[in-house]
Symmetry: D2
Subunit: 221 residues, 4 copies
């Protein structure tokens, strides 16, 4: 089943009840088109969203810590207890030390949580894939938040990443950066991605329902 991950980042349009609204639209669209839906929210919204919708809620980040004296860092056990099923790691807006990626993946596996590790190039995609996350999300940073989709600007980065990742692991590949419509989504799937990681294209859209359905429909073809 293809997967659509909506990362609401720290956008005003994606916190508190706004996050719940997006999750509910995703829930409907996921059911209609047979797409797995994941929403990655602010840590303070995990509990609220996971209690208001049936789709999977992810943290946008966890810290490489175990329970103990770690004031102000995000604990996997805590986001799991709040309802998170997994976490994004190493987003281009939150790059991590390689040892922390490794340790965070170990922690997530131990807690039966899923992982999406972001990578800015096929070389880094391969490097992180060798640590066996569930998903590697390929996002050239210069396209994130922009108007041109990676599928148009750099399609080869997706196909090459799929190829390199498969050489070293069973991780699935998500396509991110600049995805704005159904055409971009269809192209991502065609290039070998198992799904998409989208943010501003959904969260800042005036008609969120329409764009979410368009993307889900494109994924189900």
């Amino acid at each position: 089943m293809h997967v659509m991950v909506v990362n609401v980042k720290a956008y005003s349009q994606g916190i508190a009840d706004e996050a719940v609204k997006i999750a509910k639209i995703m829930e409907d669209a996921g059911r209609e088109f047979g797409v797995r839906m994941i929403i990655a929210v602010q840590p303070s919204d995990i509990y609220r969203v996971s209690n208001s919708s049936k789709i999977d809620v992810f943290a946008q980040h966890i810290d490489a810590i175990s329970p103990g004296g770690h004031t102000g860092w995000v604990l996997a056990d805590a986001v799991k207890a709040a309802g998170a099923r997994g976490s994004i790691l190493n987003h281009s807006e939150h790059r991590l030390k390689i040892d922390d990626i490794y340790e965070s993946l170990r922690i997530l596996k131990e807690k039966n949580m899923e992982s999406i590790v972001c990578a800015s190039s096929h070389e880094i995609a391969k490097a992180v894939a060798s640590m066996e996350p569930d998903y590697v999300a390929v996002e050239p940073p210069e396209l994130i938040g922009g108007d041109i989709s990676v599928t148009k600007a750099k399609p080869e980065i997706i196909s090459r990443s799929v190829e390199e990742v498969q050489k070293v692991s069973n991780s699935k590949v998500l396509c991110g950066a600049g995805i704005k419509n159904g055409e971009d989504v269809a192209k991502a799937i065609e290039l070998g991605a198992d799904g998409i990681l989208v943010a501003s294209g959904v969260v800042k859209a005036l008609d969120k329902e329409s764009i979410i359905k368009e993307m889900a429909e494109a994924m189900s073809r």
Copy 2:
């Protein structure tokens, strides 16, 4: 009114329902002894705890960001929407750049949220006080989580901090590090502190109710 801040850090004994239990005990003790109670929890627990108790819930940390593309960083607006009334900043387990302390204080003030900035010495207490947080929490790092209270090991660091902070600001001073019982609390107040910041002394106690009441009672004398 004196204030008692319980920082549950990332302790297993302070997440999810455990955090709610501590908050409820604090609520009772605060009412009984006329002490303002604040619990600082994991970001993913803010919503749950603030909806289950009447005491003030704080974040343990916020990042110096405004709404936008900041995946995996903690947004003030989001923790506020989840129910947080303020945040700890610069805890010894999460030291911050001086510019980020300043910017985070600006953001908290803009959102009518309160601030507790931690400092490891009277010199740093004075430096952060000049940026006018609501509270400066003085905690010699070598005593945090330990068995000897700062009020016994280094009482002069509290009295000197109170003095230096008052020279440059209206910030109140909290006393932290190793506080374990009512005697430590009474001494902190005697040294000029407006309250205490406590963590393991409460969270890892076998009988949390008893120790919270003992501390609150000592503060009310």
Copy 3:
């Protein structure tokens, strides 16, 4: 005596022999106009520059470490042994945790080395001044490397910083950001600064000798 600090950053025009050339021009200009000259160079250039010129060489940064197992961090003892007389700290391109500023200042004092701590606002200038560095360099980050001098765009930030710094310490104030010519320098001194911190205005100038002399001359009036 007024002081002119040239920070060559990591500009190609300021490494290796280029740094030596700048230092020699500064040496001549300093002697001619009675200005104390300091050049802050890459750590790998401290030895070369300090052995080729009589002006004071500073590190652009030191880490808050003592001798020991700290691979790849910059040790005060090492830069001192290479010829450094002091260090810049907390430059806007290298912001530091407040505890590290404090610890680095302690280390520099212990080694009889001088310190220049950068600050982006009068509030932060005051906060760092309370930790008693030798110099506080006030640089609004948005003007650094630009064409408009802080003395034109925000003169009040300099005069206010001088005022606030003097309230809490004996630190001297340097004026930075966008300083391009003798007029800017004269204005900085007029606003109460003890000197200037300049980078691209000198390092990227086509005729470095001419601009260094113009600035030194303006300082000597």
Copy 4:
């Protein structure tokens, strides 16, 4: 040819003239036993050491920056101009973001400089190897600076790393952590390593000449 890398870290016994002395001993031992010798020194010592000895001098770290406004960060061009032939990256005392490892490797290759990337496990060794550094140095952090050599405590981590690295790249493997004598060195080579990365075992030794020769001799067998 086997390689012996001595990382002097920030030890007092390895800065300034002390670094030069170690380099000279290494030069003699390298010639006598046919071992390639590399000394990794503080950035401020690169110029002095590279001008006093014929062995290769490495930086202990470079930052992922290109020439420009990067005050206080270590520029590859600058350490190269001072005489460095390469750099260590991602030492356990200086862990890096995965994107910075990748970018730093790109910069080093562009400048014809060599790279040694440290890894704490065979999984991380494999991940960094896929980015094709010249050397991967495998060092379990818990053994660094200690009395028990990795070759005794965890020999399988070396042999497994050699195996995993060879699957994905042409990088050579160095063995580090706790190496104290010729026996440890011989064992490292036997396990498939191309050389060793040693620090306190040499730098803090009372008789540096004796231990360097012992290690070089063991490597030449």
